[in-house]
Each structure stands twice: as C-alpha cells, then as structure tokens.
Symmetry: C2
Subunit: 193 residues, 2 copies
DNA sequence: CCTACCGATCGGTAGG
DNA sequence: CCTACCGATCGGTAGG
C-alpha cells in the first residue's frame, strides 16, 4: 500500500515536469533524456513509472478535456440565462488557464501529436464541448440577449481570448485580468458615453 | 540570369511546402525527408536550394514579422483616431491570417524553435510591434475613446482573437467573419436595447 | 533504479 | 540532382 502511494507520487512528479517541458519546448522537442534529467533519473528508469512518452501526453490532454467537460456540464444545467452561462464559461477558462497553465498548453497545442486512437478520442471530446458551447450561444441569440453574430465566430473569439493568459504575463492580477477580458468580450472595448 | 530565376523559383516551392508542413505537423515533427518528398526531391538535394532546416523557419518567421511591422508603420502614421487605427490593425491581422494562413502559423507558434541569434532578433521585433500597439491603445484610453481596460489585456485579447481564423474553419465568408470579430471586440457580444 | 545497448531516424555532407 | 554515408540522438528494452 505504501509502495503504491510512493510510486503514484513519483508518477505525479514526472507528469508535472513533463507538462512544464512540453509547454516550454513542445512535445516533439522534449526528449525522454530531458525529462529524466528534470526529475533526477536516467531515461530508462522513467519506464518504471510510465508506459511511454505518448502516454504522458495522452493523460495530460484527456485530464484537461475532462476538466472542461465537467465544468461545461455544471454550467449547462445551471438555471441561469445564456449570457450568465457564457460568463461562467469565460470564468472557467481563465481559471484553468491561470491555475493549470503548465498542462493547459499541451491541451491547446500539443494534442495533435497524439497517435490513434487517442487522437480521435480527443477530437471527439473537443467537438462535443464546442457543440455544447455553440448551443448556449445560439440560445442567447434566440432570446435576443446577444448580438446576432455568427455563433462560431463568437465561440472561437472567446476560446482564443482566454488562451494567451497562461503565457508569461502573469504579472497581472488574475481577478482584474479576468474582469477586463470579460468586460471586453461582453461590453466591447469602445467607451459609450 | 535565367538559371538564377529558376533556382529562386524552386526555392519558393520548397518554402511554401515547408510552411504547410510546419503548420500541419509542427517544425520539429517535420523531417527534411518529409519536406523532400513533398517537393519530389531527395533530402540531400534540398541543400542545393537552402542552407539548413532552420534557415527555412527563420525566413518564414522574419518575413511575417516584417509584414506586420510594415502594416503597423502605415497605421501608426495615418491621421485617424486611435479607435480607427485599432480597427485597421484588426483588419490587417485577419487579412494576413486568411491570406497567409500557412506561414502565419510558424510565425505564431514555431518561432520558439529558432536558434540564436535569430531567436533574439525575432523576439525583439515582436516586442517592438507590441509596444507600438500598446501605445495606440493607451492613446485611445487617454482620449476616452476606449474603456479603461488594462492595455495589455486589451492587446492580447485582440491578437489572440485574430489567430484562430487560420484554422480549418475557412468555410466562413471572410468579410462576414472579419466584421463579426470586429463587432465583438469593439461593441461586445451583449445586445443593448 | 542503473548500465549497456537496440534499431530507427535525424540533419547534413562528400563526391560525382 | 542523386547514391552513399556520417555522427548524433531518438524512444525504448534487457538484464540485473
């Protein structure tokens, strides 16, 4: 029991280090030697804790996909207006981008290096998420709560706007940043007098 | 003279194919064998037209940097309000994203694989561009034309919003898409009655 | 968890 | 523009 806990802990350390390396250099440019060095091991020893390099990427990508999916389920079933749902989703995206900024990069950019069948699985999950997001936007437009903008343009603008946050620009206060992004997307940048 | 033209033409073909591969698989995951096959050559023959793999990336990144820089100079010196300048910059970003969507991906995502001194050179150019963009936003806030949002949040929201466009979603009409993105960023998504 | 090592593949060169 | 080939490095395994 104790040994199982220790093993799973070391596994966690490897995953965290891998996520950081994938973010900084990309999946392909990160070698198992790099990763081993980062956790004070030899490359071959990594394989006592993980099955393969791709397994790491797969787990990071799917863990994040599940996180977004869980957040979406909660928002979808909450009894608030479409606009409030969208605000909640923007909050979620910013929170994840700030708190899991190492692993969310792999989720955003490195998933394409997954092999089958993980690749198709991941794409399907993302597609499902986008379908649910789009439905909320369309509902908001139908209720005349949102401007009549193409729903896909609306969604991708939101998704991409909440992605740069993880970058190096963490000298900004999160609450203020979150408010400003929401203000811009919801109210626009133009000052109305 | 003729041979020089032919050589430069083959060089162009290689660069175009490389940009496409870098976009689809990433720089690191694209081998010189892949690239050679894409232009019906053997890997070794590529070196009659280019100096190295990195030279291709360097040229793509710097060409795009210069394109954005040139657009910025034009906008900066135009005699219109800050808000109009920002609209012009959004237009430029969308136009480049749509028309040069193969090479702009390398510019956005693959530049980090550059070696020195090209890496520092690229970063400096990007920094300069962002400084100039920020100055316009600050001027717009000072003139009370824009909401008092953190200028960096405002800029990165704009930059990231105009990046997803190059993706596979080109089934949308560009003019309509461009209008919708601008409308969202400038006026916001909420419908005001 | 290590040493030793595998076949495959990498970017690139020599020589014609 | 090709064939032949280089040293380096890759992800991963065997065996202890």
């Amino acid at each position: 029991m104790l040994s199982r806990m220790a093993k799973s802990s070391k596994r966690e350390i490897i995953f965290t280090a891998a996520a950081k390396l994938f973010r900084d250099r990309g999946y392909q440019a990160t070698s198992m030697r790099d990763l081993a060095e980062a956790v004070d091991l030899k490359a071959s020893s990594l394989y006592n804790h993980i099955g393969s390099k791709e397994e790491i990427l797969k787990e990071i990508c799917l863990a994040n996909a599940d996180k977004f999916s869980a957040g979406m389920q909660e928002v979808m079933h909450s009894k608030v207006s479409p606009l409030e749902k969208i605000k909640a989703l923007i909050n979620m995206h910013i929170n994840i981008a700030v708190n899991d900024y190492t692993s969310v990069t792999s989720f955003n950019d490195e998933w394409r290096h997954l092999g089958e069948p993980a690749l198709s699985d991941f794409k399907e999950k993302r597609k499902k998420y986008e379908r649910e997001f789009l439905a909320i936007i369309k509902e908001g437009i139908a209720q005349k709560q949102l401007q009549d903008i193409n729903p896909m343009v609306c969604m991708y603008t939101i998704l991409s706007s909440t992605q740069w946050v993880y970058d190096a620009h963490l000298d900004l206060d999160q609450a203020q940043m979150s408010m400003d992004i929401k203000r811009m997307l919801i109210n626009g940048m133009e000052l109305r007098v």
